[in-house]
């Protein structure tokens, strides 16, 4: 009886150990490496932890963190909407694809960072510019993956549904998009990580708030522990975003994972 109850507890402990083990080791290594050193640029983790609490649990949360997350969310959501809508249109329409594909490759290859000065002139120095920077980089993985996903839908599937007179919006909603969703989700995953990077970069130009601005400000003001704490916060935001993505992916693609498990036997 006892053993049976213990097993899930042990299992959970093991999962936790695996998840937290490496970070804990890295933290320990960092602490040991910085223990005796007086280096101003590499403070020990305890100092960074103090700075973390002091810096981010206060007005900076509403002044810098929330605006940053807002821009990130707006940029990423906009990229997803544009990417999926345009991608579906391009993927299902042959002539549109032939017309646009070379140009899309061209625009995809332009690094968003070099667009910042241009966007600053066109859209001003506010949030619109920053969201545009995020979209200009994030939209491509979603768009191109949607095009590929929609185009690659199994012909047996489309023809079968057509013979049952499932057409137009209905076919899009119940056949094409679900079939393309594994690839679309892979694009979204890329979009999220690119979005986080561009959020930081966009805040380094013409800014006065945001995580990216604050980290550069700390670096310039020689507030090194605070700078590290900002970097740690960015990492944590990344982990949180990946976690949210994981939940969403399991919901959207549960049929797909189930299918693959069956296929694997």
């Amino acid at each position: 009886m006892r053993r049976i109850r213990l097993r899930p507890v042990l299992g959970a402990l093991r999962t936790l150990g695996y998840a937290a083990g490496l970070p804990a080791l890295a933290l320990l290594a960092w602490a040991l490496a910085t223990d005796r050193s007086a280096s101003l640029y590499f403070p020990p983790p305890a100092t960074i932890a103090d700075a973390f609490v002091e810096t981010w649990f206060g007005p900076a949360f509403t002044e810098d963190v929330l605006p940053s997350l807002g821009r990130f969310a707006a940029g990423v959501l906009l990229s997803m909407v544009i990417g999926i809508v345009a991608g579906t249109a391009i993927g299902t329409t042959r002539w549109l694809r032939d017309l646009l594909e070379p140009m899309l490759e061209f625009f995809r290859a332009v690094p968003p960072v070099v667009l910042v000065p241009v966007l600053m002139l066109m859209l001003g120095v506010g949030d619109t510019m920053r969201i545009a920077v995020i979209v200009s980089g994030c939209v491509w993985p979603v768009l191109l993956n949607t095009v590929e996903g929609v185009r690659g839908v199994d012909t047996v599937l489309t023809e079968t549904s057509r013979s049952y007179r499932v057409r137009g919006g209905l076919s899009l909603r119940y056949v094409v998009l679900p079939a393309a969703s594994p690839q679309i989700m892979a694009g979204i995953r890329l979009c999220l990580s690119i979005g986080l990077i561009l959020m930081v970069i966009s805040e380094m130009f013409a800014s006065s708030s945001g995580l990216g601005y604050r980290i550069v400000y700390f670096q310039r003001s020689f507030m090194i522990a605070q700078m590290w704490s900002g970097i740690v916060l960015l990492g944590l935001v990344g982990v949180a975003v990946a976690g949210l993505y994981g939940i969403a992916e399991r919901r959207v693609l549960h049929w797909y994972h189930g299918m693959r498990e069956v296929a694997r036997g």
């Binding site: 101003l40 640029y41 000065p117 600053m120 002139l121 001003g124 120095v125 506010g126 130009f205 013409a206 800014s207 006065s208 601005y213 400000y217 670096q219 310039r220 003001s221 020689f222 507030m223 090194i224």
Partner: protein
Amino acid sequence: MSRRRRGVLAAGAALLALGLAACTADAQDPPAETGEDGNRAVTIGALSISETAPLWAAVDAGVFAEHGLDVTVQPIQGGAQAMPALINGEVDLTIGQPFGVLRATEQGLPVGIIAGYAESYAEGDDVNSVVAGADTDITRPADLAGAKVAVNSLGAAGDLTIRAAVEQDGGDPDAIEFVEVAFPDAAAQLEAGNIDAAWVPEPFVSMIVGAGGTRVVDPYQAVIPGLPTLVVQATTQTVEQDPELVAAVREALADAFTWAEENDDAVRQTLVDNLELPEEAAANLPLPHFTTTVDQEVIQALADLAVEHEYFQEAPDVDAILVE
């Protein structure tokens, strides 16, 4: 002092520095090197801006060599980026803003000011100014309250003195909306109407005023007349262990500035060579006042202002920062 004797002295100083370096286990100490002519090798980190012109020119003309110094001018990206290089000993000295030194010491970095370099003008047109766009109604400092004002980097002497100037004029400094815009981008942003005013140095002041902009206030002059724009910085380690170097650099730099005043053409030629300025622009560019002296009261006033406007939590010890 004969040339030979100076060489011997310099070599002696270098040896002493080497000995001290060997005594301290700290690997961060910059090793003193002597060049082939027996001169002490010194690396000075300096921004690639027009203010560096007299340094480039005087090094080329051999003014520093006369003082037993073999100077290499190392281009740096910005004051904050130069600080690690200074502390690691990659450069022996840096030329940067005095506010950066105050900020660094406030954060516990061991640096000090060993000499002045350039200062703003106490009267007449200053070296930098807040200029408003042509289609704004901003004419005086108080009008900047509620306006979008660009500075090249926030949390430094620029926005601090602008805040103080607005307050002096009866405006609310907290109502200024600051944004960071690089100096070369400011004119285009003003023209596009994305910002209302910008704090810029020459030649951008003339450019913007020429395009219909209004010179609102010269914030340095209005708040702390004669505020140094650049000073020579060294680590406290260098100051304590190598007073000969500090003294030699001061003397050489003072000579360099005297020489530069008499050789304006050579100074302006370095602007063409190093910054690729057109010759006409180089000839007409207003330069600041170059001097090695630093007025302690002025630096103290800057520190007090920073505390008053809550840029610093506690007042920096200006006496300790200014090396005797």
